[in-house]
Point group: C2
Chain length 353, copies 2
Amino acid sequence: MDMNERKKKILHSIINEYIKSAEPIGSRHVARNLDIGLSSATIRNEMADLEEMGYLEQPHTSAGRIPSDKGYRLYVDSLMNDYELTVPDMTALGGTLEWQLGQIDKIIKKASVILSELTNYAAVLTTPEMKRGAIKTVELVPVDNSSALIILVTNEGVMKHKRVLLPAGTDTEFVHRFSALLREKLSGLTLDEISATKISEIRRAMQAHFELLFPILDFIADVIDDVRAETEVFTSGATNILSYPEFSDVKQAKEFLEFLDDKNAVAGILNTDDETGTQNNGGITVRIGQENALDIMKKSSVITANYYVGNRVMGKLGIIGPTRMDYSKTIAKIKKISAMLNRLLYELYVDEE
Amino acid sequence: MDMNERKKKILHSIINEYIKSAEPIGSRHVARNLDIGLSSATIRNEMADLEEMGYLEQPHTSAGRIPSDKGYRLYVDSLMNDYELTVPDMTALGGTLEWQLGQIDKIIKKASVILSELTNYAAVLTTPEMKRGAIKTVELVPVDNSSALIILVTNEGVMKHKRVLLPAGTDTEFVHRFSALLREKLSGLTLDEISATKISEIRRAMQAHFELLFPILDFIADVIDDVRAETEVFTSGATNILSYPEFSDVKQAKEFLEFLDDKNAVAGILNTDDETGTQNNGGITVRIGQENALDIMKKSSVITANYYVGNRVMGKLGIIGPTRMDYSKTIAKIKKISAMLNRLLYELYVDEE
DNA sequence: ATTAGCACTCAACGAGATAGAGTGCTAACA
DNA sequence: TGTTAGCACTCTATCTCGTTGAGTGCTAAT
């Protein structure tokens, strides 16, 4: 059995149609409504072939056909057309222009909200792996007599803070001086470079004046570890999936929403960098149905893109929806948003350096 | 028609039973399974009375009866028994003991998660109204040559930060000195006390040395305004509601989940301090079905409690679920958690002052 | 005052019957 | 040889209709 142009054209039409209607497509429908100049009988034969080749499936004998994962895969890789963002799409993006100078977290959160609103699927987004980020500044802010705040800012605009208890009788000026020492020792280092040995080194340097604050050092090591390990996951628009007939069963829908609530599981889905998902173009990865590792995702597709600060990958953003997804449109939208995000982050955190 | 003890007992039994089964309760069932020493016929008469009085409803002629909002109201106000937390409940609360010294936000978030897990309803929680909070410390942390971080800590442990651009050529030492001035001027003031006049006063004090930093002052005013206005809303376990037959219709479930995503709407529900919802006991408010203002809530009930730092109300926590709710159990659990939260916050932010 | 008994109501369920969409196959056709 | 018309066949979805059973309200007996 060979794959000719005509088969491709028919498959393309069927998938386009099924994406819209969610109803199995019959030969008659293809012959009438989609302008391929062939009779339903001929189409019927071709569809039988396409099924044998694994691109289509039949829910039952007397129903039309629906695309298989393999069908979608072909569609994504070589059939579908590029989608041009429309005016309404662009106006929906208008809000992004209002992004303010602020914490990277907020920008990122906003991006995921926009993505979910624009696509009508569930948007997911991971924050940076920080291992290779560098410390821009460290500050120990005294809050009252017994506690202070450790504040850590990295060159990617990420900020972390933690409250620590101070040994009794520590005075404010003292804390400020220690803060200066910390800053001097740690500024410019990448998080990876701050090892246990580095910490001991600081401990030695403290010997002279700051014995009192030894316990604090452990807290600081903690915060750094936290930042290093942590990659947060935001989801947005999870309830969107309830709009699709694929999730009309409440039990399944509940399972799926609970899965989306489980940050770790979602992070897993985003970070599986296997070769199955084609790196289509512009760094977009599409993983269709069975190509996903987790059982609960076998009937869904994931589209992800990386985002950057300068040329370092910071995290991923993407959407999750039913395999019957408008791939072309959605890919265009993700590309657009990740491009906007990249530009913005570049302006904020690279330009000014 | 008068309300005698027997009627109350029957109503009580019916509601208890309906809370468990979600099925309309018939006279026969009451006579057999719940030990009221009466025949089904007698119960039937009593139930007809209770319906006429508005405490029960009939979905259709040949079905059993279900409680009305009025029925639940009577139940909550004077029928139901106190619920003793069981051992499994307590172990579920065990996790709370691990609460760490940290930001108040995290504690509060954790509390809402525990609440939703413990009750199996959707938990909601609002953070403090900050108007009357006092500033514990202000710090301006230089991040690099062109930007700094404003950090604001209040006596309730809330921390806010914002990144600001520095005028070209500002040096670090300069920023630190300005930071000290700010701290001196603002520490101890409540947010309400920091008016425009106060800001101008600082501006005058700066005159001598800090003209360069005038623009920063506006940012600081911004941050303070933010903190003052802001009351955050956390929700947790929203998907729990999908377990209940009341929400088995996907369309309705979607609407409801979207409502729970709308922080403003949820805040509205929590903050309506009207007289309808009885202040039952221990500061618990129960609002049943129609007693809620919003249409989408007319088939749900809300149970809320205030929580405090010391003796100042900080915010509310509560749950939202179907009117067929296990009021007794849920109230006990909310009481318990708000008590734990109060104690913890007291220890953290009052004790040490 | 309570209860047994009975006629009545109505949703839920299951069994056909029917309609309709779609298929595969065969034979005719260009 | 590729395409198409026609037809028998399959199978789901939908509707009708009778049955079942839970539950009620009313009446008359206790």
